[in-house]
């Protein structure tokens, strides 16, 4: 177990290293001159060159990469020879010259918004998706199954921006049940927080819940045909125990672990929902950075979200080994 963990963590760091390599060089190979982008309309060739030097873009790519990576661990200083050097503390993912702020602090401000969005939506869709999926499976072929499957099909087919726009139009504009979204931290003003987040949660949860209903239903139906469920019945256990302890325990395990990965994916930013409801999360930040060709910010966000997904992968694998003894950890 410990050896496995060490191996996985080492593997994770190797993967992260390769990731920085790929992300850094990929974005540096993109056309466009970052130095030119930093200098606005009244630009002179001298100013561009000065900026290039301040950004360290006049150095060989390899040296730039080395500074980038060492910045993550020990921090770095931009334009150290200028009268106003820019200090970027570790873990430094770079400095956005468009926004004049460290990439890390931009991310640190956006990440909690995305976190709350993801967690709320996740709880909603897991609860709705799995419970409705179980109901559909237990009532297979009868009206509850048909209603649930039809609704989930509709929910799955509608694009999230459509659901979002319809909700905004009716709930906020026409019926005025909720105020226009304006994000605050839940610790600052819980009421406003919930009023702002409710619709984005519903939008994100609808799509995923629809998918999880189908997944759960199939899993549960499949497991009911398994031999060990028949064994449980043959023991003379009450049907409730057969369903919950034997069938669902085995049937839902893959779902719960798959859900972990979906959550991690969502933690990387929900681009459409965040933009629709003007939530200042990672998704909005990413879109903004791309529109402004803010290379350090794009690089930083990409690295940050990929790291979340890689770590989540490891956590899910470990969790799977805890719930399913057949997964050997050696």
């Amino acid at each position: 177990m410990v050896a496995y963990l060490i191996r996985r963590v080492i593997g994770m760091f190797v993967l992260l290293f390769l990731l920085t390599l790929a992300v850094f060089f990929l974005f540096n190979l993109l056309p466009g001159d970052p130095a030119r982008l930093t200098c606005g309309k009244a630009c002179t060739p001298q100013l561009i060159e000065a900026n290039r030097h301040r950004l360290g873009l006049d150095e060989p790519v390899i040296v730039q990469y080395e500074k980038f990576v060492s910045g993550i661990f020990v921090g770095r200083v931009f334009s150290p020879d200028s009268p106003e050097p820019i200090v970027c503390h570790a873990p430094c993912l770079g400095y956005s010259f468009n926004r004049h702020e460290e990439v890390m602090s931009l991310i640190a401000r956006a990440a909690p918004v995305t976190f709350w969005l993801a967690i709320g939506a996740f709880l909603m869709w897991i609860f709705a998706g799995i419970s409705l999926g179980i109901v559909a499976a237990l009532r297979r072929g009868r009206w509850p199954d048909r209603v649930i499957m039809t609704v989930s099909m509709i929910g799955y087919s509608l694009p999230s921006f459509f659901i979002g726009l319809v909700l905004i139009f009716f709930v906020i504009i026409k019926w005025q049940l909720l105020p226009f979204p304006n994000y605050v931290s839940p610790f600052e003003n819980p009421g406003q927080f919930f009023q702002t987040m409710l619709l984005p949660w519903i939008v994100l949860a609808t799509l995923n819940a629809a998918f999880y209903v189908r997944l759960t239903r199939n899993q549960v139906l499949e497991v009911f045909g398994d031999d060990f469920v028949r064994t449980a019945r043959a023991k003379g256990l009450p049907e409730r125990v057969v369903v919950v302890k034997h069938a669902l325990r085995a049937g839902l395990t893959p779902i719960v672990t798959a859900a972990g990965l979906d959550l991690a994916y969502l933690l990387g930013g929900a681009i459409i929902s965040e933009n629709l409801f003007s939530l200042p999360g990672l998704g909005s930040l990413a879109v903004g950075s791309v529109l402004q060709s803010d290379l350090p910010l794009i690089t930083g966000i990409t690295l940050f979200t990929s790291t979340i997904i890689i770590v989540a992968n490891l956590v899910v694998d470990l969790l799977y080994a805890v719930v399913d003894p057949r997964v050997r950890i050696t």
Binding site: D227, R230, R233, G236, H246, R326
Partner: protein, 352 residues
């Protein structure tokens, strides 16, 4: 278990006219059609047949495992004076695992992969008896030792995937016998196992049967393993019993051509199969579109000997032929006995 009033004169297990029908999208599947069986306490009945012959569904119906909502079951199943099909579901559940227990074909998938084997047996005990966990665990360890699990103290906490197929089947047997059931149904208990392990498992079932006085129904497709363990044999084909006799009688004087085919299909290590003997050709009939006449007719080598094409038009009845011997065949008694003796002679005379 003491006999309940009303069981006087009725055999311990008495199945009369059992039919099980599953509605499917392609039509009604008559899995079991008018099966009648009876068995005295402590005896072993083998139900023999190919896949799809209805033998497993018969066993599951007796066990109470056929979903009453999904299938139509008719007939009567009397066990020790109780009619099982007339009982409400909760009373059937009460009997399952305590009075009637079952061992399944595939020990690889019959145990729950997430729970330790000891806990799974403890669960079976506590489903029927109100005893503490420690006591149940002690009983479990004793039973696991009796079914021949080595290093029991360690194995009791093993997960199923850590055991071999033979060991898992021993665990299944321990689980089935833990509440001392009166009737044990073993549905192809050795089919998924290595040949060397098969004999061990059958021996184990037989010796535990002696010890506990259990009545056993052994479901199998292999007539080769029946001779040693069964007192009586019922051969099933297309959802019906086609021949029923004591084991001795069936091996010495088989009559139904299908039984002859099964006997010829048993591989013998010590003999070379004679060339002029056909095993059964073709495949079992589809349970949705059964032939109008004798269900076995399309595969029967002797149906043209029956005059008037009776085999094509009329279902034969299961009729007595001698004492304690029932046969479902249109052939005249003398004729089928003669055919059988020829076949047996050929089998016995095969070159070593």
């Amino acid at each position: 278990m003491t006999s309940k009033p009303g069981s006087l004169g009725r055999p311990f297990l008495d199945v009369t006219d059992l039919s099980v029908t599953f509605p499917t999208e392609d039509g009604l599947v008559q899995a079991v059609d008018g099966v009648s069986l009876s068995l005295e306490k402590g005896k072993t009945l083998a139900i023999v047949g190919e896949s799809g012959s209805g033998k497993s569904v018969t066993a599951q119906a007796i066990m109470g495992l056929v979903n009453r909502k999904a299938a139509k079951i008719s007939g009567e199943i009397w066990l020790d004076g109780q009619e099982l099909l007339a009982l409400p579901q909760n009373e059937v559940q009460e009997l399952m695992g305590s009075e009637v227990a079952m061992i399944f074909q595939d020990p690889m998938s019959s145990l729950h992969p997430f729970y330790r084997i000891g806990d799974q047996i403890v669960e079976a005990i506590r489903a029927h008896r109100n005893i503490g966990k420690d006591k149940a665990r002690k009983e479990t360890i004793d039973m696991l030792r009796r079914v021949g699990i080595p290093a029991v103290e360690r194995r009791v906490d093993a997960y199923p995937h850590q055991l071999s197929g033979g060991m898992r089947q021993r665990v299944m047997i321990a689980m089935a016998l833990i509440n001392s059931p009166a009737l044990l149904i073993a549905d192809e208990p050795t089919t998924a196992l290595d040949v060397t392990v098969q004999a061990q498992i059958l021996e184990l079932i037989a010796s535990l049967q002696q010890e506990f006085g259990t009545t056993v129904i052994l479901i199998t497709h292999d007539l080769g393993i029946v001779a040693d363990v069964a007192d009586e044999v019922a051969v099933m084909y297309g959802g019906r019993i086609v021949e029923r006799a004591s084991t001795r009688e069936l091996y010495d004087r088989p009559e139904m051509p299908y039984t002859l085919g099964l006997l010829s299909s048993v591989p013998r290590m010590d003999k070379v199969l004679p060339e002029r003997l056909d095993p059964i050709r073709g495949n079992p009939p589809s349970p949705i579109r059964l032939p109008k006449g004798c269900v076995f007719q399309p595969r029967c080598n002797y149906s043209e000997r029956v005059s008037g094409g009776l085999c094509l038009t009329t279902r034969p009845e299961l009729l007595p032929s001698g004492t304690d011997h029932m046969v479902r065949c249109h052939l005249r008694v003398e004729e089928r006995q003669q055919i059988a003796q020829e076949v047996l002679r050929v089998l016995a005379g095969s070159q070593p």
